[in-house]
Amino acid sequence: MKTVDARGKLCPVPLIMTKKALTEMSENETLEVLLDNDTSAKNVTRMLEEFRMSVSLTKNGNIFKLTVTKTGEVPENSHAEDFCEIENQEISNYVIAFQRNTLGEGNADLGIILLKAFVNTLPEVNAKPRKMVFLNAGIFLAINDSPVLEALKTLENMGTEILVCGTCLDFYEKKNELAVGKVSNMYDILEVLATAGSVLYP
């Protein structure tokens, strides 16, 4: 087993050291990476997962130990630096505007299950939306019996702001059932959409 000691090193050094070690190793050999902070552990893990190698992480006091087996070649065109993300920068400058409670167009049941998968997957991805806007039938995702309420609350706790169209809540008579986010109006919503880096319409 090979060991990379990246304690005390700042991003992107641990990433580069890990990638270099893996490149030099032969297949099925195991690598151990020592790190001293959570952010580095997350960054290196993300890179290894992108390489399609499975990682296990153990923590002993302030020392993080990642263990990875080289199960394939390190992609040549990958840049270790790209995985350098500093804590709290994981929220990106995009906004998701939910205009209905399904995803895409086509079969209604499929639309519903896809929407659930979409929202439930958001807390797992690195690039979290800065804000989410719920309009028209999209408001049904933000009320008490929403199938994705838990994920929306998780995202809100992670720092994503949730804005729900007040006119729409009023129209569907769901004002008293709002379960996540805050009631908003067309001025605020328009400004959010207009100033976003990009807007996704699921």
Partner: protein
């Protein structure tokens, strides 16, 4: 840690979701994680603390569904 139920097709996931919800289970639909290779991009996530796996197996196999269970952090 969560249980992930992986199925052969989207139709099976949709059927399993209906059956499990009808049987009173709590679950989430989630995109199948990249590290799990699967024919189907959707899977069912369940929390161990309110999931009796034997009951889940019973409900699903009774209805002719085949699936794999993974454990995910």
């Amino acid at each position: 840690m969560n249980y992930l139920l992986i199925f052969e097709s989207t139709h099976h996931v949709m059927k399993a979701e209906k059956l499990l919800l009808a049987a009173g289970f709590r679950l989430d639909i989630i995109s199948t994680p990249k590290e799990i290779s699967s024919a189907c991009g959707l899977s069912i996530r369940m929390k161990p603390e309110n999931t009796d796996l034997e009951m889940v197996r019973l409900v699903l196999t009774e209805n002719g569904l085949t699936f794999n269970i993974h454990e995910k952090k």
